[in-house]
C-alpha cells in the first residue's frame, strides 16, 4: 500500500506530537503528587484526548482504544467525579508508558497492542469499575452560574447516564431511546411526518432549513408546509431571526436514523418530532402544538467547563451577552448560558509558549555544511591577503577580511546553536526514575536539578541520556544509604542527589552528585587486585583508584540488585562519553558522597584542533585531548623488553606512538629526540605521540570519512584546509586502543 509522501510526513508529525504529549502527561501526573489543580488535570486530559483523536484519525486503532480508557479516567477526574488518588496516578503513569511503547511500535511500522497495554488496560478497567468518589473541591473551584432548570451534579462514571435537567433533553442525549416499532429494513416504504419548530436564533448558527429540506428531498418525496403565525409585523421583523416552523411529509424508503441525521445539528435549538404514519395520512394540521425547547445543560463538576476567556483578556472584544430575549408569541424557552469558570485564564499563559518552529535536522545539517564552506572560503581569502605586499588597497582588503572573519564566526555560532537543545530534555526523565527507584529501594531521596536550561548539541544530548541514567541508578543503588544507615551515620534521613549542568569554556559539564557513602578505596583496590587489574604492589593516587571502577567487569557491589551493579555499566558509560569526545572523572569522600563530573564538547560538528606535521602529511588532533607537548629529553626515554618505547612524563611512563610507523609516512627524523611528543589522553589512558612539528591551532569543521568511504582506524574524520586540501583528523582513543598496549596494568610499575 502506498501512502502519499505528504501523508507520511503528517503521520510523522503525529508521532512527534504524541511523544511530546506523553511527556507532558507524565510531567503533569508527577506534579499531581504535590496537590492537584484543575489546570494540570485539564492539560493531562487534553494531551490524552489529542493523542486519541490523532490515533483514530491516522488509523492506529489500538492506541486510540487504549487511550480512550485513559481519557475517560482523566475526564472523571477533571469533572470531580473521581478522586485523584495516588493509585490512579500510578496506573495512569503506567498507561503513559504503555502508550509510549505502542507509539514507538507504530512509528517503527508495526502498530499493535502490547502486553504492557493489556496489563495496564486491565488495571484501568478495574479502576473505572470501582465506584468513583466525587472529589472534594480542590484548587480553584469555579463559581457556577446556576440555571433555573439544572442542579449541578457530579457526572456518574457511565457518561451516557448523566442526569438531565427536566426540560426535553432527550433530543441531544448520546443514548437516545429508540422507539420499538422502528422498521429496520431500509427498503421499506415509509411516510414520515416531521414537525420542525426551530428556535428564533436558528440562523445565528448559520443553520439553514433549506439545506435540511434539500437533504430530505434527496431521501424521498418531500412535501413541506410552513407556518407563519409567529412572524411579527413587517415593521418589527428582524430578518436574522427565524419565525417559521414547518410540517414536513416525506415519502420514501427512509429510516428514522436518516431523518435524525439530517436534523442532527439543529436538534438542540429546535423542537423536532418524527411520526411515522401509514400511507393514507390525512392532510397536514394547522399550527403544530407548542413544545418546550430543551434547556442547555450547565456543565457538571468543578473542572468540566473549559477555561473561557473573559472580557478582561481581550480588550476589544465585548463580553458575552445572554442570547436574545425570546420575542413575544414564541412558545420557546430561552436557552441558558453555559456556566463559566470564574477564574479567567491568566493572561500570561496565552502567549507563554516561546515562538518556535520545527525544522528537519537534514535542513539544519545542510545549513551547518554551508556555513562550514563559508568558513573555508573566508580562510582562503585570508591566506591570500597575507601573502601579498602591503599597500593602501590591501589594507582595506585586510580590514574587510577581518570583518568577514568575525561575521563568519558569529554566523557559525548561531547556526550551531540551532542544533542545541536544553539539557532539561534529558533531565526530565529523572524525577520519575528517582521516585520509582527510591520506592523500590526503600530509600528516601531528594532530587535536585540545576542548570536545566544549559544547552548542548542535539546528538550529544541524545547519547548522554543512557549513561546519565546508569550513573543515577548507581548513585541511588550504591551511593545513597538506607534511611536507617544514614541516621546512624549522623546524616539526615533523606539523601540528596543533584544533577547539575553548566557551560565551561567550549564544553558542557554535567555533574551527578550524591551525599551518600562515597567510594570505598580499600574495597576497590582489593577487587582490582583480585581481578588482576592492577599489580599487587602498585601505588595509585586516589583519583586513579576511583577511576578503576570504569574498567570492564568491575563491580564491588555485594549483591547484584537488578537496578545496577552487574558491573557491565561503568565501562560502557565511559566509552559512550569518550565516543562523544568527552571526559568523565570521579571524586569521592568516604562517608560524604561522590561526584561524577562529565565534560562534553558543546558541539560535534566543530573541533578545536591542533594541526601537526609528520613528514609531508598534516593531521589534526583535538585540542581537548592534548595534555601538553614536550621536547623529549633523551634521559626520559626508555625501551622496555627491547620493544615498547616509553616516555617518562612526570611520574608516569607513557607508551610512545610513532605516527609515521602507523601511517606509513617518511618522517623528518626517526630519532625521538629530534621530534616532539604530544602527550594525549583518552579514556583514562595517556600516550605520547611522536610528531615532527606542531602547526597552527584552529577550529575545524569535522567531516566524516564514511559518507563516501569508510571508518579508518586511528582517524576520526577529515576537514578541509584553507587551501582546499583535505586534512585528516586523528582519533586518539582509536589510536590508543588499536596501536598501543593497554597500560593500566603497568601504571605504577617501574620500567
Amino acid at each position: 500500500m502506498t501512502i502519499d509522501l505528504e501523508m507520511a510526513e503528517i503521520i510523522n508529525v503525529f508521532f512527534q506530537e504524541s511523544e511530546e504529549g506523553l511527556d507532558a502527561m507524565e510531567a503533569g501526573l508527577l506534579s499531581l503528587e504535590d496537590g492537584s489543580d484543575c489546570e494540570t488535570i485539564n492539560t493531562i486530559f487534553r494531551a490524552a484526548h489529542s493523542i486519541k483523536g490523532g490515533a483514530g484519525t491516522f488509523g492506529f486503532g489500538e492506541i486510540s482504544k487504549f487511550t480512550h480508557a485513559v481519557e475517560t479516567l482523566l475526564d472523571q477526574m477533571r469533572n470531580g467525579a473521581r478522586e485523584v488518588s495516588a493509585d490512579a496516578v500510578q496506573v495512569l503513569l503506567q498507561a503513559v508508558d504503555a502508550m509510549r511503547e505502542m507509539v514507538a511500535l507504530a512509528r517503527g511500522g508495526t502498530p499493535g497492542r502490547t502486553a504492557t497495554a493489556d496489563t495496564v488496560g486491565e488495571r484501568l478497567t478495574a479502576l473505572l469499575e470501582e465506584p468513583a468518589n466525587p472529589a472534594s473541591p480542590r484548587g480553584r473551584p469555579p463559581a457556577e452560574t446556576p440555571t433555573a432548570a439544572a442542579a449541578p451534579s457530579p457526572t456518574a462514571p457511565a457518561p451516557a447516564a448523566a442526569p438531565e435537567p427536566p426540560a426535553q433533553k432527550s433530543a441531544v442525549a448520546a443514548v437516545r431511546p429508540e422507539p420499538p416499532a422502528e422498521p429496520a429494513a431500509a427498503g421499506e416504504q415509509t411516510h414520515w411526518r416531521i414537525r420542525f419548530l426551530p428556535h428564533v436564533s436558528l440562523f445565528e448558527t448559520c443553520n439553514d432549513p433549506l439545506r435540511m429540506f434539500t437533504q430530505l428531498a434527496s431521501l424521498g418525496e418531500l412535501k413541506a408546509q410552513a407556518f407563519t403565525q409567529a412572524v411579527p409585523a413587517l415593521s418589527e421583523i428582524d430578518p436574522t431571526q427565524c419565525h417559521l416552523s414547518w410540517t414536513l411529509d416525506l415519502y420514501g424508503a427512509v429510516t428514522r436514523e436518516a431523518l435524525v441525521e439530517v436534523f442532527d445539528w439543529v436538534d438542540s435549538n429546535s423542537s423536532i418530532t418524527y411520526e411515522q404514519l401509514d400511507d393514507s395520512a390525512p392532510p397536514v394540521d394547522a399550527a403544530p402544538p407548542a413544545a418546550e425547547l430543551p434547556v442547555y445543560p450547565p456543565s457538571a463538576g468543578p473542572c468540566a467547563a473549559p477555561a473561557v476567556g473573559t472580557a478582561d483578556q481581550f480588550a476589544d472584544v465585548p463580553s458575552v451577552p445572554a442570547p436574545d430575549a425570546v420575542p413575544a408569541g414564541s412558545p420557546l424557552v430561552a436557552p441558558s448560558e453555559a456556566s463559566q469558570a470564574s477564574a479567567p485564564l491568566s493572561a500570561s499563559k496565552a502567549n507563554v509558549e516561546a515562538s518556535s518552529i520545527r525544522v528537519g535536522t537534514e535542513k539544519v545539517d545542510a545549513l551547518i555544511n554551508l556555513v562550514g564552506e563559508l568558513v573555508i572560503t573566508q580562510s582562503m581569502l585570508g591566506r591570500f591577503a597575507e601573502g601579498v605586499d602591503a599597500g593602501r588597497d590591501l589594507e582595506l582588503l585586510r580590514r574587510g577580511l577581518a570583518h568577514l572573519a568575525r561575521n563568519t564566526r558569529e554566523l557559525q555560532e548561531s547556526v550551531l546553536k540551532i542544533r542545541m537543545l536544553p539539557i532539561s530534555f534529558s533531565f526530565n526523565r529523572f524525577p520519575r526514575l528517582v521516585r520509582e527507584l527510591s520506592r523500590r529501594l526503600d530509600k528516601k531521596i531528594e532530587l535536585r536539578l540545576r542548570g536545566e536550561n544549559t544547552e548542548l548539541d542535539k546528538i550529544v544530548l541524545e547519547k548522554i541520556g543512557d549513561p546519565l541514567v546508569h550513573l543515577v541508578r548507581n548513585s541511588l543503588d550504591h551511593g545513597i544509604e538506607a534511611p536507617a544507615a544514614r541516621i546512624a551515620a549522623g546524616k539526615s534521613e533523606t539523601g540528596v542527589l543533584e544533577l547539575n549542568a553548566y557551560h565551561q569554556g567550549g564544553s558542557i559539564v554535567i555533574e551527578v552528585k550524591d551525599d551518600g557513602a562515597g567510594l570505598d578505596r580499600t574495597r576497590i583496590l582489593a577487587k582490582a587486585r583480585e581481578r588482576g587489574l592492577i599489580a599487587e604492589d602498585a601505588s595509585l593516587t586516589d583519583e586513579q583508584i576511583y577511576n578503576l571502577i570504569f574498567l570492564p567487569g568491575f563491580s564491588t557491589a555485594e549483591s547484584v540488585s537488578d537496578v545496577s551493579g552487574r558491573g557491565v555499566g561503568m565501562d560502557v558509560v565511559r566509552r559512550n562519553i569518550t565516543d562523544l569526545g568527552g571526559h568523565v572523572q570521579i571524586s569521592s569522600e568516604r562517608g560524604q558522597g561522590s561526584t561524577i563530573r562529565i565534560r562534553l564538547p558543546l558541539t560535534l560538528a566543530i573541533l578545536e584542533g591542533q594541526m601537526l606535521r609528520v613528514g609531508q602529511e598534516t593531521y589534526v588532533i583535538s585540542l581537548v585531548s592534548i595534555i601538553e607537548t614536550v621536547q623529549p629529553q633523551p634521559n626520559h626515554l626508555h625501551t622496555v623488553t627491547g620493544h615498547a618505547e616509553l616516555f617518562k612524563h612526570r611520574d608516569e611512563y607513557l607508551p610512545i606512538l610513532r605516527l609515521h610507523e602507523i601511517f606509513g609516512i617518511e618522517p623528518d627524523s626517526r630519532d625521538i629526540a629530534d621530534g616532539l611528543l604530544v602527550v594525549a589522553e583518552s579514556d583514562g589512558q595517556r600516550v605520547a605521540i611522536l610528531v615532527d612539528e606542531l602547526q597552527a591551532q584552529q577550529q575545524v569543521v569535522i567531516k566524516s570519512l564514511d559518507r563516501n568511504f569508510k571508518q579508518v582506524p586511528g582517524l576520526a574524520g577529515a576537514t578541509i584546509h584553507g587551501d582546499g586540501t583535505v586534512a585528516l583528523i586523528l582519533d586518539v582513543p582509536s589510536l590508543i586502543s588499536t596501536f598501543s598496549v593497554r597500560t593500566t596494568a603497568s601504571v605504577g610499575r617501574a620500567a
Binding site: N369, G372, E373, I376, E617, I662, F663, G664, I665, K703, S704, L705, D706, R707, N708, F709, K710, V712, P713, G714, L715, A718, I720, G724, T725, V726, A727, L728
Partner: protein
C-alpha cells in the same frame, strides 16, 4: 525484416568511454557525476594501494581510486590527460561519490542493449567481476564496467 525494425526502435543507453592502458572502457552515463582534472590527493593510511586517498569536492570528502593499480595494470605517470571520473553509486548509507583515475576520457556513446555481449571469462584477471559486458564501438572493443560492484568491493576490501 521485423527483426531489423525491432533493433531500430530499441532504447539505447549512453556510456562514457575512457582509456586505461590502451583498453577502452565504458561507464553508464547515469552513474557519472562529473569529470575532473587530476589534482593532489590526501593520503589515507591503512588502505589498499589502489586507494590513493581523499579529495575535497566542493566540500565533500571523496575517495579516489587508481584504476590501473586496481586492475593490476602497469602503472603510468600521470600526465595532462589524466582525469578523475567522479561516479555516484548506491551504497549502504545512501549514495557514495567516488573518483576513478583513468588515462583519458574519450566521449559518450550510444549503445543498444542488444549489442552488448556477456564478458568472456578471462582467467586470472581481477576485471571479471566488474565487467558487465562488452560491446564494439567505433571498431574497437569496449569493456563495460559495473561501477557499483567495483566501488563497493574496493571500499569494503581491507
Amino acid at each position: 525484416m521485423s527483426q531489423v525494425k525491432a533493433v531500430a526502435e530499441e532504447v539505447k543507453k549512453q556510456y562514457v568511454s575512457f582509456m586505461l592502458a590502451s583498453e577502452q572502457h565504458g561507464v553508464d552515463v547515469v552513474r557519472v557525476q562529473e569529470i575532473k582534472g587530476w589534482d593532489s590527493v590526501t593520503r589515507v593510511p591503512s588502505t589498499p594501494p589502489y586507494m590513493l586517498g581523499v579529495i575535497n569536492l566542493r566540500g565533500a570528502i571523496v575517495p579516489v581510486i587508481d584504476l590501473r593499480i586496481r586492475f593490476h595494470l602497469e602503472r603510468a605517470p600521470y600526465g595532462s590527460t589524466t582525469v578523475v571520473v567522479v561516479v555516484r553509486v548506491p551504497g549502504e548509507r545512501g549514495e557514495r561519490t567516488v573518483g576513478l583515475v583513468v588515462d583519458a576520457v574519450n566521449s559518450v556513446h550510444d549503445i543498444a542493449p542488444s549489442s552488448i555481449r556477456p564478458p568472456p571469462s578471462l582467467p586470472g584477471t581481477v576485471d571479471d567481476a566488474f565487467i558487465e559486458g562488452i560491446a564494439v564501438v567505433g571498431g574497437q572493443l569496449m569493456l563495460l564496467l559495473d561501477v557499483q560492484a567495483l566501488v563497493t568491493a574496493s571500499i569494503e576490501e581491507r
